[in-house]
Amino acid sequence: MNIRKFITPRSLGLVVLGVLAALPAFANNYWLFVGNLTLVYIALTVGLNLLIGYSGLLAFMNGTLFGVGAYATAIFRVDFSWSYGLAIPLAAVLTMVIGVIVALPALRLSGLYLALATVAFAQFILWVLLHWDRVTRGPSGIQVPQVDYAPLTDSFEHGHYYVTLVVACIIVWLTANLLRSRYGRAFVAVRESEVAAESIGIDLTRYKTLAYAVSALYAGLAGGLFAPLLGIVVPESFDLSQVIVQFAMVTVGGLGSIAGSVIGAIGLVWLQEFLRAFKELQEVAFGGMILLTILFFPGGISAMLKHWFPGWREPLRRRFLDQ
């Protein structure tokens, strides 16, 4: 029996899901934290891959929007005293709105100019987070309480982990669905040739905006879930090195592949944690991985899997048994 054809994104995904779902049973609080962090990163990388990998829009804003989601959640929870159940979704929507507003002028820019503009924007927001003391409490950040998951569970770590797991799963499922439709084909068309995309009736503005909106929404959600996980939101969690980490995850996992985003997130979160004490090694490792992947394995791990396993396909359409 040829086992190779059973290795598909779906089957691997189910295995990963199984492991992740069972994690709380045999992990201590630290591993649970890392696992939870992985799920947050999955939400981030899926959105980033949609933007850079599928649509070809090289924007450096994902780390910043992640921060916006986290800060908005913190402010809603601490200053307005809303419950997390209200704060997180609203923060996510707010992040999406901000992401779209920023995207609108950026729509006219492409490639290099887009990269430069979004880098500048990211640094600008970081400065705002550091200096707008009245709202963001500056460098010391905002402390946020844990989420109260009673009566479901008394353990915050367990409760939060499962909530993030569900959210991450939903995000992966929604995005995978979206890509297996005319939207997925439209994103790739925009990336490959704007001229050809327009010639088949794709409105560039609309689809680019959609890509920005979706990735911003995911980043906002991720931020909202990240805030109580860490217990505090500080500006330095969301600086440019955050974006580099995300870039590394998407690049190593595979641009243009949802499975790649998940693989990259899982693979690199541990590395990041492991090297947390040695900032210089972190920088060398992540920068080096981006470079090595681009130079030697441009499609990332996902492309390698596609090469080895014929069943590893992420089509941009739905398959029907009778066609």
Binding site: Y113, I290, I294
Partner: protein, 291 residues
């Protein structure tokens, strides 16, 4: 107050201009922006630091040696990163140079982390400040300013009047056509990267006596250099100079008259405003590749 702000703005602007010129040289020839340019600056500066403090070389010698050392660093980057990806789409190269910048930053931090300090100049120039408009100016600041002007004029002349300069413009215009007329395109690229890095290295050595060298200095300077080139018009050498000076002045004036913390953010705002309203910058898009 105003003269002081003007002088400090012009001198920091001259530094930005020099860094921007190195960036533009590579862009003019290859059509790509090197996001690791700031780190080339940083490593050039630290190499000089090591030469001065550990090997005991005099300042001038270090300045002179910075040129070939940085040049080599630029060539290495070209061979390892740029050359294999020459024909890749623009976004791939941006990602690759971003990765490179992070890598170099980590290397810099590993080797020299936290060791940067004010390099003291010996002998050559009397470090005592003298008065311009009643405000104290360090001789070193004037040297940086003069160096930036010299650099820019040198490059302008180079591009306009020498064959090598024209070849570099040709390769940016169309690598394919350049091949056809016999230009050794890869060789031109390598030289360009070397020259760009050398300019960054020299700028670092010139600047070292004035500010603290840290591994993170590269990214901050890169953004200022971006602001300078975009303000002046991407691809324009004189634009980079004028842009750099303007960015320096803006920062200084904003910091002095409005709020000192706004100084850091002036560059970002300039970039965003220019790109949204007038992406071609002040001097228009000179030979700009489709970005």
């Amino acid at each position: 107050m105003l003269p002081y702000l003007l002088i400090s703005g012009l001198t920091s602007g001259a530094l930005y201009a020099m860094v921007a010129i190195g960036l533009v040289v590579v862009y003019r020839s290859t059509g790509h922006i090197n996001f690791a340019h700031g780190e080339l600056f940083m490593i050039g500066g630290f190499l000089a630091y090591s030469m001065i403090t550990m090997l005991g070389f005099p300042y001038l010698l270090s300045l002179v040696l910075a040129v070939p050392l940085s040049f080599c660093l630029g060539v290495i980057c070209d061979r390892v990163v740029f050359r294999p990806l020459m024909n890749a789409p623009g976004t791939t190269l941006v990602l690759a140079t971003v990765g490179l910048s992070y890598l170099l930053k980590g290397v810099g931090r590993y080797i020299w982390g936290g060791k940067g300090e004010y390099i003291s100049i010996k002998a050559i120039v009397d470090p005592a400040p003298f008065l311009v408009w009643g405000m104290p100016v360090l001789p070193q600041q004037l040297i940086v300013f003069a160096a930036a002007m010299l650099c820019m004029m040198g490059f302008l002349a180079f591009f306009r009047w020498t064959i090598a300069g024209k070849m570099m413009q040709a390769t940016a215009e169309s690598a394919f056509a350049s091949y056809l007329v016999g230009i050794r395109v890869e060789r031109v690229y390598t030289w360009t990267w070397g020259v760009g890095a050398a300019v960054a290295g020299v700028a670092a050595v010139l600047m070292a006596p004035l500010t603290l060298l840290t591994p993170d200095i590269g990214s901050g300077l890169l953004i200022k250099a971006f602001a300078a080139t975009i303000l002046g018009g991407l691809g324009s050498m004189s634009g980079a100079l004028v842009g750099g000076l303007l960015v320096g002045l803006c920062e200084s004036l904003v910091g002095g008259y409005i709020d000192s913390s706004l100084q850091e953010v002036a560059a970002f705002i300039i970039i965003m405003i220019v790109l949204v309203f007038r992406p071609s910058g002040l001097f228009g898009a000179y030979g700009v590749r489709r970005a």
